[in-house]
């Protein structure tokens, strides 16, 4: 690996190269396309649907899938397919925005902590310990009562609690990378601390971070389901996959398909993000660059 060559390269090629390599990865492309497709359907489907996500048909509750309702109806006689597609909006937003918050706090803080070391590192890590030890449920209930059942409450609640994992991960990676030869070399060559962190340490530690984040997206969708289950979820009648699973869980002995379909949807999203995340990780790996 040629460190000298890397440090004279223009900045944009790191991402440019990654993009080229990502496109060559079939699974990653499939994952990405699936996510875009789901997002696209979620946006345009409502214009074509003959059902509204909130309109109830009390004479047709808890129906099994039929030609009339492809995925059946729920406890208020609403079309499950329509709600599932609407729910994709909520759930994708929950997944993505919470992880943006997690990254926005965890990445810089973890990197700074690991790269700086010493007292600063110790202080930041003890702060992270505080957040870790903290009873997040209390914070979520407080946020819930201030912000109400809006979707933003869910973003904040999950994001503010989960960034510590990423922060610790990044810091661990950077602590380990700091001792590596190429970093020492860069330092000897006169690279500044900030330069080394952003150009060498951070990109090299992104692999596990991306895996964690792609994993956390469905986890966030779950957390939303769990919050619904314990009674602090989003505001109805707006559907979310989490809330649909909770509602379906309540009647699992009567209508198991109500749990099944959102679970499958989460599975597909999860698989897509996993493939995309793996592809991204490979694409961003500086050692794979040619």
């Amino acid at each position: 690996m040629t460190i000298a060559a890397e440090s004279v390269r223009p900045h944009h090629t790191l991402w440019g190269d990654a993009w080229i390599r990502l496109r060559r990865n079939k699974l990653a492309v499939t994952g990405g396309v699936l996510i875009l497709l789901i997002a696209l359907i979620a946006i345009i489907y409502p214009f074509f649907s003959k059902y509204d996500f909130a309109s109830q048909d009390l004479n047709a509750i808890l129906q099994s899938p039929s030609s009339e309702h492809l995925l059946g109806t729920d406890e208020l006689g609403r079309d499950v397919l329509t709600r599932l597609i609407y729910g994709a909006r909520t759930s994708l937003m929950v997944g993505i925005f919470t992880q943006l918050i997690v990254l926005a706090i965890g990445l810089p803080l973890g990197a700074f902590s690991g790269a700086t070391g010493g007292r600063t590192d110790n202080f930041i890590m003890r702060f992270v310990d505080v957040i870790y030890a903290f009873p997040d449920l209390l914070l979520i209930i407080l946020l819930r009562s201030i912000l109400g059942g809006s979707i933003y409450m869910i973003f904040l609640a999950i994001g503010l609690v989960n960034w510590v994992g990423v922060a610790r991960l990044v810091r661990g990676q950077i602590l380990s990378l700091k001792q590596r030869d190429f970093v020492t070399a860069a330092r000897v060559l006169g690279g500044s601390g900030g330069y080394i962190t952003t150009r060498h340490l951070l990109p090299n530690s992104l692999g596990p971070v991306i895996v964690t984040v792609t994993f956390n997206i469905p986890r966030a969708i779950f957390t939303e389901a769990a919050l619904s289950y314990i009674g602090i979820g989003v505001q109805p009648p707006t559907p979310s996959w989490g809330a649909m699973i909770r509602d379906g869980y309540n009647v699992i002995f009567a209508a198991p398909h109500l749990v099944l379909f959102p679970a499958i949807a989460i599975g597909i999203i999860m698989l897509s993000f996993t493939f995309l995340g793996d592809g991204l990780r490979d694409a961003l790996d500086p050692r794979l660059r040619r």
């Binding site: 690996m1 110790n122 003890r126 310990d129 505080v130 870790y132 030890a133 903290f134 009873p135 449920l137 209390l138 914070l139 209930i141 407080l142 009562s145 994992g165 610790r168 991960l169 661990g172 990676q173 602590l175 380990s176 001792q179 030869d181 692999g207 596990p208 895996v211 964690t212 994993f215 469905p218 986890r219 779950f222 389901a225 769990a226 289950y229 314990i230 989490g242 699973i245 869980y249 699992i252 749990v259 679970a263 989460i266 599975g267 999860m270 698989l271 996993t274 493939f275 793996d278 990780r281 490979d282 790996d285 050692r287 794979l288």
Partner: protein, 305 residues
């Protein structure tokens, strides 16, 4: 190293103090108090209860009382289980939660690491895809749904296992499995990623070029280095598991502390909340300390001075 540990223990105490203060403040900020019942209590009753539990005192005095109790090894009294001390509630619930958590953790490690390793060593093969798919499947079913599916299959349909409770091995199987799936999937993914990372390192390639046996490389270089991020994530994962999962404990009727704590929050049981937070904080921060020390053991390049 000794100095480092002493330093960290000092910080542990600071962290616990800060956490308990923030929790205490949050607790009083969250709307609803322990005596807000669906049938409104008479004002005289509320006065008597406040007096009994010291809630008639100002905020700082209440916090002072709490710290004073902690210093005397007393975690206080529970408001929702009024004849039991928080210490006894935690001591009764902890062994159950911890046993379940440790079993689930071992299960997660036993499933996760081999799967992740195999997937990385045979990247883009069937083994790899299978591992991805299985981890995805198990990670895409929320705990309470997976739990009730297990109950329906193994208790309701087959009558093989009891639906819940505590005391026998049969009662642990389903909750441990339900609890282990998500961490197992997660550990598999992390292991796969970090193994791939290590496989590309120069020293592994050098070793391979030098013709050192694959097995030796695997054990001496790959396993050791690949496990660093796994250990980072496994620590909190373990802490998470032994602090208890409300959903799993609730579904499988396990008398553990996870269920107690969440119910305590919903009941605004200030005594139980504060006691659990101090305890939980101690466990988490303590485990993180252990993880950091393990780091130094696994990766000799990391030094604490």
């Amino acid at each position: 190293m000794t100095r480092y540990i002493i330093n960290r223990v000092f910080w542990l105490i600071i962290v616990l103090l800060v956490v308990s203060f923030i929790t205490f403040s949050l607790m009083h900020l969250v709307p609803g108090g322990p005596w807000d019942k669906e049938k409104t209590l008479a004002p005289q009753v509320v006065d008597a209860l406040n007096k009994k539990y010291g809630l008639d005192k100002p905020f700082y005095a209440q916090f002072g009382d709490f710290i004073w109790g902690i210093l005397h090894g007393d975690l206080g009294v529970s408001y929702s289980f009024q004849d039991r001390s928080v210490t006894s509630i935690i001591l009764q619930g902890l062994p159950k939660t911890a046993t379940l958590g440790v079993i689930a953790f071992i299960l997660a490690i036993l499933i996760g690491i081999p799967f992740g390793m195999a997937a990385a060593l045979k990247q883009n093969s069937i083994v790899d895809y299978l591992s991805v798919i299985f981890s995805t499947i198990f990670a895409s079913i929320p705990g309470f749904v997976l739990g009730i599916l297990l109950i329906i299959i193994f208790s309701v349909e087959l009558h093989w296992l009891p639906t819940g409770g505590w005391g026998s091995i049969q009662q642990i199987i389903m909750p441990a499995f339900a609890l282990a799936t998500l961490p197992a999937a997660f550990i598999a993914r992390i292991t796969r990623a970090s193994t791939l990372e290590v496989l590309r390192q120069d020293y592994v390639r050098t070793a391979q070029a030098m013709g050192i046996k694959q097995r030796t490389i695997l054990v001496r270089h790959i396993l050791r280095n690949a496990l660093i991020p796994v250990v980072t994530m496994a620590g909190p994962e373990l802490a998470f598991l032994i602090s208890g999962s409300f959903i799993i404990e609730n579904l499988f009727s396990i008398p553990g502390i996870g269920r107690m704590f969440v119910n305590g929050v919903f009941a605004r049981d200030y005594g139980l909340i504060m006691g659990s937070v101090i305890f939980y904080g101690f466990v988490i921060a303590g485990l993180n300390l252990v993880v950091d020390i393990l780091y130094a053991v696994i990766d000799p390049r990391i030094r604490y001075d």
